[in-house]
Point group: C2
Chain length 224, copies 2
């Protein structure tokens, strides 16, 4: 828990709990559906495990998070109090989309982008078999240049190594461009037209690919 403000105002009492670094993003991850320690880490890659652990304990003590242990497995979920933060986190996302559209180079992260995208695969839209996508960011450092999504009817795996399957569509993109598409700042179509994003593979699959991901909720937000 952060330092007290010494105020009876409910906004102050709320912020004592919520305005510490990483806290809202941790709640965002739980809202997005991550429940396991290491999944949370994947969504918060720059947060140290020590700090993640501490935040989880703080928020558990504060009654926003519940920790459940099933044998060796541990799951964190939001309590009713925590769930009531969802509209606030969403509103913060809308506000950020509207008023902080510019991203610095440091904000771009292939690992995080793929992690985000893999959560939003639309299993209704994807072919009812194994589909393998390769993503390449030619300008990125070698370590994070190539990624694979292996989509099966009820799962999605991310790999940073070639899983060895045949590739259905290869996506070659500028990282900023694909991130902007993902955030709804621009469309797949405009990215393709500009040449900053290229798809390789059978034409029907190339056409279908943008539909394999659920529409980002942020795409529909009117910009000021």
């Amino acid at each position: 828990m952060g330092a007290s403000y010494g105020q009876f105002c409910p906004v102050a009492k709320a912020m004592e709990l919520l305005d510490e670094r990483w806290t809202m993003l941790l709640i965002r991850e739980l809202i997005a559906g991550s429940r396991r320690f290491n999944d949370l880490r994947r969504g918060l890659p720059r947060m140290s495990p020590t700090l993640l652990s501490r935040r989880l304990q703080q928020l558990t003590a504060a009654g926003l998070i519940e920790r459940q242990q099933f044998g060796a497995e541990v799951e964190y979920t939001l309590t009713p109090a925590g769930k009531e933060l969802e509209p606030i986190v969403r509103a913060l996302g809308v506000w950020g989309t509207r008023w902080i559209p510019e991203l610095g180079d440091r904000d771009l992260d292939p690992k995080l982008l793929l992690w985000d995208m893999h959560r939003e695969v639309d299993h209704e839209a994807v072919p009812q078999r194994r589909t393998v996508l390769q993503f390449s960011f030619p300008a990125a450092p070698p370590r994070v240049r190539d990624w694979w999504l292996v989509i099966t009817p009820d799962d999605v795996d991310i790999c940073d190594f070639d899983p060895g399957h045949d590739i259905d569509v290869q996506v070659t993109a500028d990282l900023r461009c694909l991130t902007d598409v993902w955030r709804g700042e621009r469309t797949w179509a405009s990215a393709l037209r500009s040449g900053e994003l290229e798809l390789a593979g059978p034409e029907p699959l190339r056409r279908a690919l943008p539909g394999w991901f659920k529409k980002s909720a942020f795409a529909a937000i009117p910009r000021p």
Copy 2:
């Protein structure tokens, strides 16, 4: 501006700006209508002037606040971007009211309570002449024990010294009790019944006094 999260997520971008200590409370004060440096200080008494100054500069640079100078007077107001935080601050207040109802002794502050109350005087309801209220918190330290509100048809002054006028109603209260009434945790009636709050003065004025303040928006919030 706080440290970067290195994430393209709009929630992260928003929180880089908003999750620093005091920032949301400063925005709350601006929403509440304070525009002058020293008025902001009154609403944020534990914030050092240096830090307040820095936050104002940060938020001005970020485009949430506009600074206007009129001769020697300086006014801070919210820009459209800042105003769009109002529903979020409000939602945080609702959330805090619902899930963090308990106040520590450190959260109670007569100065802040009076400052808050003076902003919510309902000039429609108050007698159309000068009305003087005295507030006494017998258990409080001498320095903050006695307060006066001097209400005129279009102004309210707070004094921590006897302004010398005749007193219309004297309010003697336990600080926590009056704070709870103010936050909507309990009613004036129950506070009076319990004896933790007493009114002295002509009966019609004593009956009318609770109506002289606008209903706290938090009173209507359903508790979980």
